[in-house]
């Protein structure tokens, strides 16, 4: 096992170094990059911005590969939510006799919850293996590593769009359409992405460090599916547990989606929602912190 002893990091120092003989293409003011042990990374976020094109192209690559490699790409994005929706509706509504929210058809309610859930699980699953899958890049080229797991968001969003189209078809079938609250969906979509990113980054870093961690991820996702209000409404959770239940960041996101998609038929539980948002923020901070902490050793580990 090889580990770096000192955590070192590069930093960029701006220096107006006028060059007397400058060949074409070389700017008059060049930045001098200083690589040194233990130097604080003051320019990480700026670096992230400079590499935005790489982010776009990696995301585009993942998307192109996903839908090129297999005709199954699109089919998978269709089949998975439909089957899950059927199973949940039969299981929780017909068998367990759980109520829907207000007048919304049960399957529509399930579907509205599955939208953010699948976004969450796709980001988590894809991001967690992204670094290992791109190990040849990581060990050969420098760029802020945060780009790689973040780029998986785009693929998840493409799947999200397909699932969303399905939901619209279903709503047309049930003649149950959202009202003005729909305009808040972008907000909840962003919240869903942020809620996914935190745990995803944490797990991604763990996955590089402990290569057998990937066996645990499907379990985490399966577990998450049942503890999150995907197949049922969070209103069935007893009132005294509701606040505790909202510690799960996905709860607030799913409730938000249902609120804006189901004409407010699901009542908003504000204390829980704020708690969920707090959980999202904490996870995001934790994920980024741990990712950044371990990032410097990725090239040595992969």
């Amino acid at each position: 096992m090889i580990n770096r002893l000192k955590q070192a990091s590069p930093a960029v120092v701006d220096g107006p170094l006028a060059l007397p003989d400058k060949p074409n293409g070389i700017h008059e003011h060049e930045r001098v990059l200083v690589l040194e042990a233990g130097r604080a990374e003051r320019h990480y976020w700026r670096d992230l911005w400079t590499y935005r094109e790489l982010f776009a192209i990696l995301a585009w690559r993942d998307l192109a590969v996903r839908y090129k490699q297999t005709a199954m790409g699109v089919a998978w994005a269709l089949i998975r939510p439909i089957l899950s929706m059927l199973v949940f509706t039969v299981l929780f509504n017909r068998v367990a006799k759980l109520p829907s929210v207000g007048h919304a058809p049960y399957s529509v309610m399930v579907f509205a919850g599955m939208l953010p859930w699948f976004l969450f699980s796709t980001i988590l699953a894809d991001a967690s293996i992204s670094l290992v899958n791109n190990s040849n890049l990581i060990s050969k080229v420098y760029f802020p590593r945060l780009i790689v797991p973040s780029a998986t968001i785009l693929v998840a969003l493409a799947d999200f769009a397909i699932t969303f189209a399905l939901l619209i078809l279903m709503m047309a079938w049930y003649r149950f359409f959202p009202d003005w609250r729909l305009i808040f969906m972008p907000f909840f979509l962003v919240l869903a992405i942020l809620a996914s990113l935190g745990p995803a980054l944490y797990i991604t870093a763990l996955n590089v460090k402990y290569r057998d961690f990937r066996y645990i991820i499907p379990f985490i996702l399966q577990f998450g599916l049942y503890v999150s209000p995907v197949g049922f409404s969070s209103t069935v959770v007893p009132q005294k547990w509701r606040l505790l239940y909202s510690l799960n960041p996905v709860v607030g996101v799913i409730d938000g989606f249902r609120w804006c998609l189901l004409r407010g038929e699901s009542q908003f539980y504000w204390p829980g929602f704020f708690l969920s948002i707090a959980a999202v923020v904490v996870w995001l901070w934790l994920g980024i912190w741990y990712f950044r902490k371990t990032e410097r050793t990725f090239a040595d580990l992969l």
Partner: protein, 430 residues
């Protein structure tokens, strides 16, 4: 920093911690960590707290680079040479920001791009066109920049007809050409080239060399070139840095550095003294020393495939041996027996050994072994197979890279032996 210096390394060092309990595994598994923790807890319970302090898992420092100082000026082409494990790759990794130094500092002026391995970041499912954009972005080119140079890149790579074919259907040659072409059209102030020219056909290698020379000369870019191919290094570079065990052994004009390096490799590997306890037998013969050389060349040319190989074994005969025989076995670096032959099987009479010093010469004509590291065993016996002296795997030698199959980077993936092959195709008569 002086204005014409683009890279300056000062007392650069890179340390790795090598753990002995987890051998060669760079990543750990959760299972390992948990079992280790549990075991430690158990030990703590049994022996009290002090037991945990003494015997943790041992960690040893390993300096991949130590006290490295150098400067590279604008437009300079510098060759970095050294044996495997000398720290060349680590140095390049530090310079390209993939890993950070543990000591000292490096100042870099301008954009660094590395051409580390062929097709890094190529995606097999994507087409040539898509991969140009992908690879360009990975190497740090802006989209607009790639678009501007697109035609040039394609023309240089000679892949016009296959632009919309997924690269998984490309031949390895096309793959390399495209990869190099993208990187060559990058406009970094500093280009790092690690052994990429080794692949691809001879004509394309020539073309790449020309391109790199031009880039350095007319555009004022600096190139750091790592290769085991001394011919290429000498052709391209003006200055050389020779790394040995993480330290700079010699820097200076490329010819001097390459010369010194070649001599050292030659000296170190191709001759030696048998250590006393490595030799077994009844003691009537003592094996003293050996050398392996290329008998066909008057100069100090390295051993290579298709050339003759001469083993000289110096031995001391304690008492006259009327009937004797000797044999040799050669193994490759994976311990595969390449050849084994002795004089009895050959049917050649072996002269009587008189007491005193003698040298046995074994000549292998037109070696077919591919470049790489080898070891040999040598023994002296009587015709019935009774061993007088035997040195097992004690002769180490190396066959240097030489143009084979139109490339200079033949390794074990090409098999064990060189064969003079010809492919042809003809319609089958029905």
């Amino acid at each position: 920093m002086k204005s014409d210096v683009v890279i300056r390394a000062e007392a650069l060092g890179k340390k790795y911690l090598v753990g002995h309990d987890v051998q060669r595994e760079r990543y750990t598994t959760l299972r390992e960590v948990i079992t280790r923790k549990v075991r430690r807890l158990a030990r703590m319970g049994a022996n009290g707290f002090r037991a945990t302090m003494g015997r943790g898992h041992e960690v040893e420092e390993f300096w991949a680079l130590k006290e490295i100082d150098f400067e590279i000026k604008r437009g300079e082409v510098v060759g970095i040479i050294g044996r495997n494990g000398a720290g060349k790759s680590t140095l390049l990794k530090v310079l390209s920001r993939i890993t950070e130094p543990s000591e000292g500092r490096v100042s870099i002026k301008g954009r660094v791009a590395s051409l580390l391995e062929v097709g890094t970041g190529f995606h097999p499912e994507l087409t040539g066109r898509e991969n140009i954009y992908l690879n360009g972005a990975i190497l740090g080119m802006a989209r607009a920049e790639i678009r501007r140079k697109f035609d040039e890149i394609v023309a240089f790579a000679e892949v016009e007809r296959f632009l919309d074919t997924p690269v998984k259907r490309y031949s390895s040659g096309m793959h390399v050409r495209l990869a190099f072409s993208v990187a060559a059209h990058l406009e970094p102030e500093i280009l790092i080239v690690d052994e990429v020219l080794a692949v691809g056909d001879a004509a394309f290698q020539e073309k790449c060399m020309g391109k790199m020379k031009g880039v350095a000369k007319t555009e004022g870019r600096s190139i750091l070139f790592v290769s085991h191919n001394m011919m290429a290094i000498k052709q391209l570079c003006r200055r050389g840095i020779w790394l040995q065990s993480g330290e700079i052994r010699k820097t200076g004009p490329i010819d001097e550095v390459v010369e010194a390096y070649t001599v050292s490799v030659h000296d170190k590997l191709q001759s030696g003294i048998f250590s006393r306890h490595a030799v077994t037998g009844d003691g009537r013969v003592e094996l003293v020393s050996y050398s392996v050389s290329n008998p066909n060349s008057n100069a100090n040319l390295p051993l290579t495939t298709k050339e003759d190989m001469l083993f000289r074994i110096n031995l001391r005969v304690k008492e006259d041996i009327r009937q004797s025989a000797c044999g040799i076995s050669i193994f490759n670096e994976f311990g595969v027996l390449m050849t084994s032959i002795n004089t009895v099987e050959l049917g050649t009479p072996f002269p009587q050994l008189a007491a005193g010093d003698a040298t046995v010469c074994v000549r292998i004509r037109e070696t077919v072994f591919l470049p790489g590291s080898y070891t040999a065993s040598f023994w002296v016996m009587n015709p019935q197979g009774h061993i007088h002296a035997m040195a097992e795997n004690s002769i180490a030698f190396e066959l240097a890279q030489t143009p084979l199959y139109g490339t200079c980077q033949v390794d074990h993936q090409w098999g064990c032996v060189y064969s003079d092959v010809e492919f042809s195709v003809a319609p089958t008569a029905t």
